[in-house]
Each structure stands twice: as C-alpha cells, then as structure tokens.
C-alpha cells in the first residue's frame, strides 16, 4: 500500500474552528476539553420520558454551553418537543436530572426557572396589549415599576416592534406576533431561551428573514438559545451545534460542518443534506461498492460510506490522466436524470445493476449518455448503520 494513503485516509477538511465538542456524555464531568472552555450552562443527564406505553426519550445526556445557539433537530415524533418541555418545566422526566449552574433545575416549577420559552403558536395573550404582554413577566417577577416601561420598550425595539406597543394582538400578523413572543421572553433576561419551532408557521421568505434576525439577535444578547426544528437547513444555517435526535436517542451532536462532512451514522448522513450511501466491501485497502471502488484505510469487512453529491465531479475528457491518482476514484455511468437547480444541477447516474448515484454538478450543461465521474477517496466518509430500534 502506498504510504501516501495513510495521510490521505484522514479527512481532507480541517476540524472547524477551535471548538471541538464532546458528543455523547456518559458519567464524566460536564467540562469539555478545549483551549478556552466556555462554561457549561445546562447539563442534561440520562433523561427518560414515556407517555403510557410509548417511550419518547430514552436516556438523553447533553451539555449545553453558555452563550451557544444549539438546535435540537429531529423528525416529528423524535421527542424534541418533549425534551424542550421538560427543560421548560411543563413535563416531568421519568428519570434523569437537569442541572443549571450547580443547581437542580427539574425539581423547580416552571415559574421559578430562569428559562423562557417562545412557543410554536406564539401563545400571545389576546386580552392584553402588546406592551402588557411583554411586561407580563416583569410584573410577575415584581420588577420595580419605574423600570418596566423602559425595559419593555427596549425589548420591542430589539425585535423591531416598537410602533406596535399599544396594539391589540389580534391585529398582528403571524410574523409580528412571533416577534412579540420573542420580546416577551427576552425582556426577562433569562439564562436560557427555548424556541419551539418558532418559524414553522411562516412562509419561506419571511422564514429566511427571521432566521437571519434570530441569529444576529442571539449574538447581540449573548443568551443561550435552544432551538427546536425538523428543518435541517434551518438547523445548519443557525446553529453553533446541532443535536440530532432520532426516536428518543441522540444520534449525533456536532457543529453543522462536522455533522455534514463527517456524519457518524447513515441516518445522520441522510437526514442532513443529501447523500449517497455506499455499502461497500473492504479488502486490501480498497473499498468496493457495486461498480465503484476507491482506496481507503481500514480493516476488511462490510462498511457503509456516505458520499455527498457535491463531492462528485465530471471528469473533463481533455485532461490527461496522469498515473493512477490514488486519491481519486473514478467510475462510469449513464446519465439517467438531470434536474436544474439554479446554481447547480442534480444528476442521477445509473451505474448498472440498479446502482444509482446522485451528483450535484455546477453548470454542467445538458448531459446525456455515458459519462465518467470522479471523487476524492477522502470524501467517502465511513458511517455506522442501524439505530437501536
């Protein structure tokens, strides 16, 4: 085996930033190992929850750092909303604990937790004006009366709803109500803000706009956000870290880049972005999956690889192939389908024997017939397959 392959076996992409997070945490202490450790705000330990016979959360453990924007991502039924409600205090976990800065959180009632929630349906109080909605938490906490108007106005300015201070909520659009809900939560300066799919009811354009605003808002106030969504694009756009939840288990917890380029499981690879799953046979440093084979490092046996469509390129016929470049893998296939996607096309390649790969090519022009494609071996990432269910 050429010595170079050892080097190339490692990822071609550097670890993103300096913040490598630990993933599944067992019994070890909450502090992550990193050059400048941000403090941990919330520790979730072995939380389990079931409704009747149905188990929704099966032993969730997660550390959330202060000031981070973390998204809990999952399909419907994965348990993400339940987890959020447990943190907020509307449900009690069957087992497990939640700690915030050295104190047990899950035994305190919701109105005593330094946690605020933005609900999916906004839950604005219809019988109170916008101002009184936002002031509600301050009044409940007994904030000094002279402070309240100032804080409310500042919160409304932050979400750009200042002119609507005296309005009745019924006159507001969905997006406007959502901003009010945000202001209402943030004005209390909680340690933690929970957002339960807050953008799901908005149309696509408004959604994108709100995503940008939310992100900059979070940076501005520095409050830890726990964001729940089923939309993986949204999760990738907004988060510092993503916690992928699947059927009550944490599948992977990593930064968006890490989770995209180095998914740990087949599910993670498929849920986030698109991918080609190559079920390969490893032998003598070569992995073979159907008509495709490439050089890689690892013990022999059956392995599953994930290859992102954007890593597949068209081979330019004019280029003279130098020696067999071990870092590249080439294959031929028939262009079965091509869908235009603006900046890139999604091309379906039929390799025969019902093996189909998808490639994302930038401006390929109209393709047809048999063409040759290539990808870097390092881009085929090894993944685990099969969950616990």
């Amino acid at each position: 085996m050429p010595p170079g392959s050892f080097v190339l076996a490692r990822s071609a992409f550097p670890a993103s930033g300096s913040r490598r997070r630990s993933t599944h945490l067992a019994e070890s202490s909450p502090a992550p190992e990193s050059p400048s450790p941000p403090s941990t705000l919330l520790t979730i330990r072995n939380v389990e929850k079931g409704f009747g016979a149905r188990k929704v959360l099966r032993g969730i453990s997660l550390d959330i750092a202060s000031g981070e924007f973390i998204t809990i991502l999952g399909e419907s039924g994965s348990g993400k909303t339940t987890l959020l409600r447990i943190i907020a205090g509307f449900e009690r976990a069957d087992r497990g604990e939640i700690w915030m800065e050295g104190k047990r959180l899950d035994v305190t009632p919701p109105y005593r937790r330094p946690v605020n929630t933005v609900f999916q349906s906004y839950a604005i109080f219809p019988h109170l004006s916008v101002f009184n909605n936002v002031a509600y938490g301050l009044r409940a906490a007994g904030a000094p009366k002279h402070e309240i108007p100032e804080r409310v106005i500042r919160a409304l300015e932050m979400v750009k709803m200042y002119e609507f201070a005296q309005a009745a909520p019924s006159r507001l659009s969905g997006g406007q109500q959502q901003r009010v809900a945000l202001a209402r939560a943030l004005v209390n300066r909680p340690r933690l803000l929970l957002l339960d799919e807050p953008l799901s009811a908005l149309d696509a354009n408004l959604r994108r706009q709100m995503q940008v605003e939310l992100k900059s808002l979070q940076r501005e106030v520095g409050i830890t956000f726990i964001f729940v969504t089923h939309d993986q694009e949204e999760a990738m756009a907004l988060s510092d870290r993503i916690a992928l939840l699947r059927a009550g288990h944490l599948e992977q917890v990593a930064t968006p880049r890490d989770i995209y380029y180095r998914p740990e499981t087949a599910y993670a690879a498929q849920f986030i972005g698109q991918t080609n799953l190559l079920r390969a046979e490893m032998r003598d440093g070569i992995a073979t999956s159907g008509a495709v084979s490439w050089h890689t490092f690892g013990p022999p046996g059956k392995v599953v690889f994930s290859l992102r469509p954007d890593h597949i390129r068209l081979v330019v016929p004019a280029r003279v192939p130098s020696q067999a470049d071990v870092s590249l893998a080439r294959f031929k296939g028939r262009v079965a389908n091509q869908s235009f996607g603006g900046s890139s096309d999604l091309v379906e390649i039929d390799l025969g024997n019902s093996q189909i790969l998808r490639a994302r090519l930038a401006n390929p022009g109209v393709l047809s017939g048999d063409r040759e494609f290539e990808f870097s071996s390092a881009d085929a990432v090894r993944v685990r397959e099969g969950g616990d269910d």
Binding site: Y111, R112, A123, F125
Partner: protein, 280 residues
C-alpha cells in the same frame, strides 16, 4: 358555514318548514294577542282591545313580590352554579382521576333528569335534615340543578381556550394562582357571562323543582301557577308577555356573546347541543 347542497325539490320542504315555524309561534302570538284582548281568553278573534290587563298588573303587589323572590333566587342560583361549575369544568378539562366518567355523568345528570325527581329527592333530603321549605331550599334546588349548565358552558369555553397561554404565563414567572386570575379567567369571560345569563333565565322560569321546594314565599312561576289553578285570569297573559320579552332580551344577549366568541367556520352551538354531544 357549510355550503348549501342543492337538491331538486326544496319547495315541499320549505312549505313544511314554514308550517313548523307557524306551529312553534302560534301559542306565543296567541298569548301576546290575548294580553290585549278585552274579554281575556274568550272568543276568537278578540272582540275588544285593551291595556287594562297590563294596568291591573301594576297594582298587583303579590305578583311583584313573587317577581322579587324569583329575582333573588335566580341571582343566588347563578352564584352557586358558577362557583361550583367553574371548578367542575376545570376538573373535566384538565385533571385525570379515577372515577372521572362517573363524576362527569353525575354533574351533568340533573340536566336531563325530569325536575320532579330532582325536586322530590331534595325535598326528602331537606325534611330529613329538619329544614322547612322556603326560598332557601328553592335556591339550593336551582343551584344544584343548574351546575350542569354552568359546567357545560364553561367547559365549551375551556376547549376553545389555548392552553399554551397558561403555559406561557407559568413560563414567564407567574404561579398557578396568578395565571388563573390574569389569564384563564379573562379568557373565560364570555363563557361565564353567557352561563350566568342562561342560568338566570332558567332559574327565573323554573317550575318543576320549585314546585316541591317552595315554602310560603312564591317565585313568579309558582305564583302564576297557583292563580291558574284557581281559574283563568287574563292578567296572566299580560305578565306572560312581559316575561317573554324579558327572556328574549336575555337570551338574545347570550346568543350575541356566543356567536361573537366563535370562529366563523363553526356552526353556532348552543348549550344544549354541546351538552347532548358531550353527554355521550
């Protein structure tokens, strides 16, 4: 509003419906007409017209005493029914406990049970407890019978209420008591007023239960009843017309409140409808 479904022969149906409406309104119109009739209830059509019955009404102190009694009993009944119907509705909406189905049936039972049974069983109860029949016993009877109305009406209001608002309130730092006063109750305002109006009207007109629990002070329906037994007095037509107008106004207000609170897509549901749906 559902789209009307066109069929080929609505005309017969239309005529039939008109006849049914005529049937429903015949007695009411008769009453009103005869309250102005010179000869009282005799002769059709009335030969003379007069306002004397109404005039006679105003000098009738016994009658007005009974109106006052009815009024007091009705107010008290509203208070009892709502004070107990509100927690009952909350319990049915939120709490899970063994025997909940039985609890629900028991609370709603007086709604469908003939008044005589409620009245008699309470009479025997009061007698066993050594109490004499009086306006108090009537009030307790009305209150008991009408809790079911309050529960049904408030329960319907709770179903429409977004519980997330309570969660939001707790989330923002208000405890359960504060949440109840500042969020739950204001949102139930329409249901509570509607229930109060309804219970007031039902208590004011109530006769079956009152029949057995009445003491020496009469409520209005009982007073009218005892006069009817003695013979037809045309005054009755006049007071009945007045009661009619009064009830209409109250129910009209109730209906307006109900429909304003509802979304336009839903068919307007009345208390009974939701009861009969909910009782199953």
């Amino acid at each position: 509003m559902t789209q009307p479904f066109r069929e080929s022969r609505p005309r017969i149906l239309l005529v039939y419906t008109a006849l049914v409406f005529a049937f429903l309104y015949l007695p009411i119109l008769t009453l009103v007409v005869y309250s102005f009739s010179g000869s009282g209830s005799g002769g059709f059509p009335p030969s003379t017209w007069t306002l004397s019955w109404y005039a006679q009404l105003f000098g009738d102190s016994d009658l007005w005493n009974s109106v006052l009694n009815s009024f007091l009993v009705a107010i008290a009944a509203v208070l009892i029914a709502i004070t107990l119907g509100l927690p009952a509705a909350l319990a049915l909406d939120r709490a899970e406990f063994p025997g909940k189905a039985l609890f629900r049936r028991l609370v709603l039972l007086p709604l469908i049970l003939p008044g005589i049974i409620t009245g008699l069983s309470l009479l025997m109860f009061f007698v066993s407890a050594g109490m004499h029949t009086s306006l108090l016993t009537v009030t307790l009877g009305h209150g008991t019978a009408l809790i079911s109305v309050a529960t049904t009406e408030i329960f319907a209001g709770l179903q429409k209420f977004d519980r997330r608002q309570e969660e939001a309130s707790l989330d923002l730092g208000a405890n359960h008591w504060m949440t109840f006063w500042r969020i739950t109750l204001p949102n139930l305002r329409v249901s509570l007023i509607a229930a109060a109006l309804l219970i007031f009207t039902l208590s004011f007109d109530e006769i079956a239960v009152s029949f057995f629990l009445i003491g020496s002070d009469n409520t209005l329906p009982i007073e009218i009843w005892s006069r009817l037994r003695r013979g037809i007095t045309p005054e009755i037509n006049a007071i009945s017309t007045l009661i009619l107008v009064f009830s209409f106004i109250l129910i009209f207000v109730w209906y307006r409140l109900r429909t304003r609170a509802e979304s336009p897509e839903e068919p307007s549901a009345s208390m009974l409808q939701s009861t009969l749906e909910g009782a199953s």
